[in-house]
Symmetry: C2
Subunit: 583 residues, 2 copies
Amino acid sequence: MRTHFCGLIDEALIGQPVTLCGWTDVARNLGGVCFIDLRDHEGIVQVTVEPDNVDVFAVAETLGYEDVLQVEGVVRARHAVNAKLRTGQVEVIATKITVLNKAEPLPFHHHENPGEDTRLKYRYLDLRSPEMQRKQRTRIRLVQALRRWLDARGFQDIETPILTKATPEGARDFLVPARMHPGEFYALPQSPQLFKQILMVAGFDRYYQIARCFRDEALRADRQLEFTQLDMEFAFVRERDVQDAVEGMIRDVFREVMDVELDAPFPRLTWFDAMRRYGSDKPDLRFDLELVDVADLVKDSGFAVFTGPANDPDGRVVALRIPGGASLSRKQIDEYAAHAAKYGAKGLAYIKIDEAGAISSPIQKFFSEDAFAALLAHVGAGNGDIVFFGAGAYNKTSDFMGAVRLKAGKDFGLVQDGWKPLWVTDFPMFEWDDEAQRYVALHHPFTAPAVDDIDDLRANARTAVSRGYDMVLNGNEIGGGSIRIHRPEMQSAVFELLGIGAEEAEAKFGFLLDALRYGAPPHGGIAFGIDRIAALMAGTESIRDVIPFPKTTSAQCLMTGAPSPIPDAQLAEVHVSVRKRED
Amino acid sequence: MRTHFCGLIDEALIGQPVTLCGWTDVARNLGGVCFIDLRDHEGIVQVTVEPDNVDVFAVAETLGYEDVLQVEGVVRARHAVNAKLRTGQVEVIATKITVLNKAEPLPFHHHENPGEDTRLKYRYLDLRSPEMQRKQRTRIRLVQALRRWLDARGFQDIETPILTKATPEGARDFLVPARMHPGEFYALPQSPQLFKQILMVAGFDRYYQIARCFRDEALRADRQLEFTQLDMEFAFVRERDVQDAVEGMIRDVFREVMDVELDAPFPRLTWFDAMRRYGSDKPDLRFDLELVDVADLVKDSGFAVFTGPANDPDGRVVALRIPGGASLSRKQIDEYAAHAAKYGAKGLAYIKIDEAGAISSPIQKFFSEDAFAALLAHVGAGNGDIVFFGAGAYNKTSDFMGAVRLKAGKDFGLVQDGWKPLWVTDFPMFEWDDEAQRYVALHHPFTAPAVDDIDDLRANARTAVSRGYDMVLNGNEIGGGSIRIHRPEMQSAVFELLGIGAEEAEAKFGFLLDALRYGAPPHGGIAFGIDRIAALMAGTESIRDVIPFPKTTSAQCLMTGAPSPIPDAQLAEVHVSVRKRED
């Protein structure tokens, strides 16, 4: 139906006949000549219809936004060059125009932004905009570059099931009633974790999959019910084998897709150091602000909020100096406190030193002059600065001070352009869940501990370190992985520590334990969040911009209207019914 | 953990130290020397442990099937070359053996076949066999070759949702209760059909996806609940644009993966001719037997079973001559009749002519001598042949005679080795469903009719031809597609003819109708069944062999135990309950 793409018409074609297909980006009559901006996926070219071409002109005059056309014409050099268009040196003098499909008046034109709900309802209109095309194409190129890299290195792209078994973290499983098995359900996978481990046991050695994963939880701005990860697994490896391989991959892919050279090698931080210095297990290294521990300098002060945690081995008192932060008003300081409170802070003490050296601080009175001066000196506070203080349980305090750090980085324009990747390693194996009175896995229950000795792990579970690792980029966890447990006794011991009894473990993970018994190689892997990496590359905050058909934060597809009610007769066929309110 | 792969050790490495990891395929003590066949994904190498190496020998003597090892050693030329092994020129003299993971006694060794259920339960053991590895790798290479071909030609790999809206063919939808929307459900897609059409409306021009699709129906040997298709769509195309492109793709991919040169161009048959000549819309052209219409020669016979259909414009009387078929016994003839009955035949008349020319036939008596001779002459029957006859409604008769043809092809060894692709085109637009008293779509409701005129389509719905096409290979439909409807009025008219009222169409497909209204280009596409093509390439009858983790015909995963019961409390969270029997 066409000989060329609109966006690729150039001077080499001058004098030649062409047939183009595309959309009427705009059509207008200027001084008796019709000009049509004809658009396809490659770009826009100007189609010119001269009035002496009576029949064609009559058609051109009726055109509206987004009418779909086939245009025959001849390429000509343009009098008034349009430097903004790739095709701006030329125009196509139309000899025939066929309207392939007339467009009704649009709800909005893709050059407008009518709000996200309308954009999502008419996603096909929104996706026509050059900006959305660019974002989607960034994702397409990312995935293509990853595959090419992996295929060239002998990784095997293997599919794992979407209809599978409910997992122990089952509360987040999507359930699918089974027609042939009344009262039974499949679950959609939260990740292909167990299948990829099984593939290693089956001898596949190097696996990858661009895998759809599902998590049925309340949506936040950066979450979707279904998401895509690059899932990888390697047999016969240690941490560095996996890390070095995928670090090279990410570096190569950023070079190819973004023309960016990432640091080599990526910096490495232990989980503990990341929490200590940045108050985050995914620190944003695009700015330097670091937390400073001050327990030793405040433990004898008169301020009970500080002295408690300062004298508790599980407590923390920590300061964050913000250069130039003295410009914060009382109201702005309150906003920082409110922000910290969202992450569990009960208050946010501060010391403000104005440009003249005058100090305002609600906590100065609790310190001797010397102790106060020593504190200021320790954190390096000078004129024009503000210092925020957090105190309390170690992890919680680190968390909220990490949040304060991020807010300060943003508010004070400290965040530099560019790319700051790093590895975070040596995660704790377990977290103690006070409410459930048991350990929970910080990564997942299949992560190997750093110790090989089961008794050692049992005796030191609280402080045990895992063989997990995360790749972090600009404050986002873009990849997470680990060396897995490959011995059945260790896997059973970890299940036990997580409160999963032998019977439950056998019922839920019997096939994994079996697989580990029948010749499982040491293995490990990683999974990368494709949506997030694509969003970072495309320069957008929202992963919805890089998902072709995303759902809203209320879990709906505004275009198709999913989810929707289903006739009861159809539910009967799969042996379920909708619960009544009182059930 | 290793310097080389077991299966790649060769003479170039003689004298060099290597570290290998792998499985103990077998270990045996022969004349005081231990030989270990060490296996990894690349193959097997012989590890030799000499008795003077006391410590290593002691380890080697304890090894059992599938123990996972790390072996350090030196490569040496082998005294007794093993021509069957790629590495058969060399052996590795072990200097150290580390048992990485001991294997318990196996339920079966992958060299054995304990039956499919056991193989599926311990899929990881079964997948270790060279034969299963070969089959899985064929699939992996197929998908890789397809992607490479598509990426090189500007097709864009775009993801569409798995959690989407229930469709009108909803009886086959898998349903997923929505946590945030009590009483509502998502559905898993039977195909990305509507999304890919929407992508064309959105201006993506050339789309593909290796897409997981779902169909909740009773499983046959060649069906799975979830299956994989290469889904493609093109904007601004006609039939031949799609067909020529993908025919080239399939030819290139067969050359790359199988080293096979397919016919160029593929033969083409209309649907009507395929049914007429082969009694199938997916004829197996690896053998020549063709059906021969005989209505004119039997319409005046005394056999009412023939004369009814022979004089009915919607009827058919048809013969199939099987050369050498006179060897069939009475019992075997009955088996043919029973086979035809499965496809709807009420009986299967025949004429058998033995090598000496003696005729046995239950229908001879209904014909005059001349008429009978004319009939034999028309079908070309000679000594040693059998001729089967089918009579009845046109399509049903074609169907069961097509089934008879396939059985004869197999029974008489007529099916040649090799690859016989073809296009089947010009499908009927609709089939009349007698039971529902309405039309049903032969392809799907979005397939364009061959006529552009809506009134013409309405007036001639029964005989209307669609713009659908199938790619057939060796009697399997491996791809199916069509040019789609791109005008909203035509789409509404087709919905109406299918008994989908305006209100229902708006509720279910409003977004598609909208999209067609706001500038939809002419477009079309195709979808290929990856599982089936992989099975054909791998030379296996069962697609389960080329799916890493398939389900049984009773829709279960024997390895994980899916589907499974779910605690009621968890069902309550998604607002459903299991129906009681009496519900």
